[in-house]
């Protein structure tokens, strides 16, 4: 019964998602964050090998 008033469920009318200020879609921004994470890990791996 509680689920009938649950927010964010499929029974609610979808609320429009405002786009991010860059890259057009949120999925693109999320992909950018993951690419930056991979770049940081690669850089730190290089640092570890270079100086150890």
């Amino acid at each position: 019964v509680n689920e009938a008033k649950a927010p964010g469920t499929s029974r609610e009318p979808p609320v429009p998602d405002p786009p991010p200020p860059i890259l057009g879609r949120w999925a693109n921004l999320y992909a950018l964050v993951i690419v930056v994470l991979l770049a940081i890990i690669a850089l730190l791996s290089w640092l570890t090998r270079r100086f150890s």
Binding site: T9, W26, Y30, L47, T48, F51
Partner: protein, 567 residues
């Protein structure tokens, strides 16, 4: 600490409180007091989120960790950007559209009252105890180094936090976070420059980096999988993801920060900024510690960085043994200085054979110093088996007090107080929100807008008093930070499982997730008691068990409901 340092310290602290109060004036209802009227733009959400998790002990302990253990701790944050992405995709829209004050309020709307009560009780228990340690841990370090009474240092911190929140509410916390965070990071950058400038003439930061690397302090990434190893690539990515997801998704001290965002987009951008910049920030703070380590290759370092413990040893029954160790340590550091200088000269010469020989001497010099350190720790343990033999929290401030110029010392101390206020104010504010929204309003039914704000202020003062009172008790707990980290991991996984079930498993209902949470908590406690796996993995266990058991129970309850339903 000189008079100019005191002036800088007191002036900066007064400015923090005054600025927060000025920006937070005019709270007339609960939305204003608890959620800053949902008016914060994304830069403020981002900095407030980052400031909340950056306690004073982070800035005291992280450089010390870099000094003692190198960069490997940075792997702990590899899961953070991933957690931010998933939170932005599923949690933020759900919370914003529900227009809730607390994360636990969402659980009642999605499931039922008992599930909300269970989650808010787990939060109040875990965060209420942690709040005492958040005040006590930095107060202990500051009081030891400044010669203050730890009890009054706790009271001072608690009072500053209470004044800052009660008069300005969430908006004051958010604005003060921005100012405090800017001062903290600015101070860390200045400290880094001063460390590099304090290196001997002719020794640059690249030489210092090379020395730290040869002595194993640039070990940033370890790709070997070992569940018992606390920090490696996999525990960081997987265990770290679950821990960060739990913390940011279910802990009201963080949820309250981004619920104050003026829209879904502002909350999302704030969290993504946090995901992108937290990792480089932690790397930089660890690197400051690595530079302190490199600095001490050329300068005499204390045998033990905790001055109170050192003094106690020198004046105690093992005083002769301690003084002998200090002399051995002084000789070993003098030899180490020679080997470090020879290493830098060998780097300059470009002769491979000379460089290889210098590297061996460098490592040998460091080994000799570490041998004396091990003997010193054994002496401390022999004198008092319950004594704290880790001095990493004292490394950075000891360096600051002995090697930074007047004025800057006051600024660093102000930054440490600011960091303590950052995390404490967010904690107190979250405890207030949960107490008022999830407990008081449910039992009492609320009242006028002004009445609710007054109750919230009263709750804030009570939680500050509780934290200061518990800090007294925390003094007897032993290893505080470890205790709090493990305590958090004991509950976070279960709470995350409840929220993920709410977001993702639409068919599961309240009773199923409630009992699944009980089973998961038992499983996590069994892992803690019966296994040796790293605490980061408790979050994975709790979350997976909640979701798995909830799905099974949901199917069982559904089948039973159909079976007993009239034809």
């Amino acid at each position: 600490v000189s008079t100019p340092d005191w002036i800088v310290l007191c002036g900066t602290l007064a400015a923090f409180v005054a600025y927060g109060n000025w920006r937070g004036r005019g709270n007339r209802d609960l939305t204003g007091y608890l959620l800053a009227g949902r008016s914060l733009r994304w830069p403020m959400v981002a900095l407030s989120v980052m400031a909340t998790q950056a306690s004073a002990i982070t800035f005291l302990s992280t450089p010390g960790q870099g000094y003692a253990d190198g960069l490997r701790f940075v792997q702990f944050y590899f899961g953070l950007p991933l957690a931010m992405v998933v939170l932005c995709a599923i949690a933020i829209p759900a919370y914003h559209r529900a227009r809730v004050f607390t994360a636990y309020e969402y659980l009642e709307r999605r499931f039922d009252a008992k599930t909300r009560t269970l989650a808010s009780a787990l939060f109040l228990l875990q965060r209420g105890l942690a709040a005492g340690v958040t005040i006590y841990a930095p107060a202990l370090v500051l009081s030891v180094l400044l010669g203050w009474d730890v009890r009054w240092t706790c009271v001072l911190l608690g009072a500053l936090v209470a004044i800052a929140i009660t008069s300005g509410g969430s908006r004051a916390v958010g604005h003060a976070h921005v100012l405090q965070f800017a001062i903290i990071m600015g101070t860390m950058v200045v400290a880094f420059v001063m460390i590099v400038r304090a290196l001997p003439p002719g020794v640059g930061w690249l030489d210092a980096t090379a020395i730290a690397g040869r002595l194993g302090r640039l070990n940033a990434v370890n790709t070997a999988f070992d569940p018992n190893d606390r920090y490696n690539l996999w525990s960081g990515l997987i265990g770290g993801f679950f821990l960060q997801f739990s913390y940011f998704g279910t802990d009201q001290s963080q949820v309250g920060r981004y619920l104050g965002g003026q829209s879904i987009a502002h909350s999302r951008l704030g969290l993504l900024f946090n995901g992108l910049f937290k990792l480089p920030m932690q790397f930089f703070i660890l690197f400051v510690g690595v530079m302190v380590f490199a600095f001490y290759q050329f300068a005499p370092s204390p045998l033990f960085f905790d001055p109170v413990e050192s003094h106690r040893m020198a004046a105690g029954p093992q005083g002769d043994r301690w003084r002998d160790l200090e002399q051995r340590h002084a000789r070993a550091t003098e030899v180490r200085r020679g080997t470090a200088t020879a290493f830098v000269e060998a780097r300059r010469s470009g002769d491979a054979a000379e460089l290889a020989a210098a590297e061996r001497s460098l490592a040998e010099g460091q080994r000799e110093v570490e041998k004396v350190r091990v003997a010193a720790l054994a002496a401390i343990h022999d004198t008092d088996p319950a004594a704290q033999t880790s001095d990493t929290n004292y490394v950075f401030l000891a360096f600051v007090l002995h090697h930074l110029p007047t004025g800057l010392i006051g600024l660093v101390l102000a930054a440490m107080f600011a960091a303590s206020m950052n995390s404490s104010s967010a904690e107190m504010h979250a405890l207030t929100s949960t107490t008022v929204v999830d407990v008081y309003k449910r039992l009492h039914g609320g009242g006028t807008a002004w009445h609710e704000v007054v109750v919230s202020r009263f709750a804030t003062v009570l939680w500050c008093a509780f934290a200061v009172g518990f800090a007294e008790f925390a003094a007897r707990l032993g290893s505080l930070i470890e205790a709090v980290n493990i305590l958090g991991s004991l509950f976070y996984g279960t709470m995350l499982g409840m929220f993920l079930t709410a977001f993702l498993l639409k068919r599961v209902r309240g009773t199923a997730v409630f009992w699944a949470a009980i089973v998961a908590e038992a499983a996590v406690i069994a892992c803690f008691k019966l296994t040796k796996i790293s605490f980061l993995w408790y979050n994975v266990v709790g979350c997976v068990v909640v979701m798995g058991v909830a799905m099974v129970l949901s199917a069982v309850f559904e089948r039973r409901r159909i079976a007993i339903a009239p034809a």
